[in-house]
Symmetry: C5
Subunit: 87 residues, 5 copies
Amino acid sequence: MKICRVEKTLVATSRIGGLENRRLLVVKERGGGKQVAVDPVGCKPGDWVICVGSSAARDAAGSKDYPSDFTIVGIIDYWEETEEGNK
Amino acid sequence: MKICRVEKTLVATSRIGGLENRRLLVVKERGGGKQVAVDPVGCKPGDWVICVGSSAARDAAGSKDYPSDFTIVGIIDYWEETEEGNK
Amino acid sequence: MKICRVEKTLVATSRIGGLENRRLLVVKERGGGKQVAVDPVGCKPGDWVICVGSSAARDAAGSKDYPSDFTIVGIIDYWEETEEGNK
Amino acid sequence: MKICRVEKTLVATSRIGGLENRRLLVVKERGGGKQVAVDPVGCKPGDWVICVGSSAARDAAGSKDYPSDFTIVGIIDYWEETEEGNK
Amino acid sequence: MKICRVEKTLVATSRIGGLENRRLLVVKERGGGKQVAVDPVGCKPGDWVICVGSSAARDAAGSKDYPSDFTIVGIIDYWEETEEGNK
């Protein structure tokens, strides 16, 4: 699973039906780029979170049929990020 | 899910039967390269979109058997891309 | 799906039974490295093709059980590659 | 499978139910970044381990439904890492 | 599928039961890093091989439930690697 930081909510009004009205967040991976994650946990901007990909992202979002490939599965209690730690 | 920008339609007349006659788009990932995505939403060049990969791309394209690994699932209402934001 | 260019046929006499005698091609991804793809379409060296990965590569190769993770699904009618376009 | 080194336990009290109370570890991939892996083996910081991704990570964590995309499947008996070997 | 070169056998005595006693090899991807692959073919150090990932790696290793995400599926008859070819 990846370690990411929550940036903000992403609004996408025009979407496929399968996405339903779940909350989508822009997250930034440690040392990587921005991605979009489904949030079934309830995060706020600035939270460090654990995101799961692959087929596990679907079950984690609530059902085997949900079309997600990146879903937040937990909020990290404490994460200290340093410049040199960003490797 | 990835944040991509739609470039143009891709024409591939010679294709496997499973692809059917779905519309394929060239999209460019933020800070990344060009890929081909199936478009069940109806996008136009310049749109910022959310693309899903993995097995979720198949259901998102319409059926569990569809041979896609990258499918557009929504159009982002507003995305401001800055040079420094391209990280 | 990825945009690749066909380089040549790859010969691998010693292989697992599941691969059967399907044709394997060396392809080079745009701006990336060489990979091996199964070719159910019938390509020739120099063709620009669309390759699918993930579990979709299996169905695209002909059956849900086929052990491929990269399969050609179509030949692009026209692709102009420029140096600056290789990003 | 990837070759990683165990760094420490990761605490994430707020998590989805599917994750249960399994132990999550921060691991660092050889020549790569930090990730989070489920540990069904029982590792300690400093161990060099083999981590599996994709859908195999789910079964490796104990069940087909477990939402992991990175699971430790074994501890390497002996791994000598040199600077030039980190490629 | 990826083009890799076999380096050596990897010993991991402490492992999950699902891995059974299959032979694990350290392989180095062309232009990439070292990974661990299951070897159902019978390779020797120095062989250039084709490795499959994703869910296909599981069937290739012998069963749908086998926890592999990287399995050798064939030995390349002839591969000439040059410095400039390593791209």
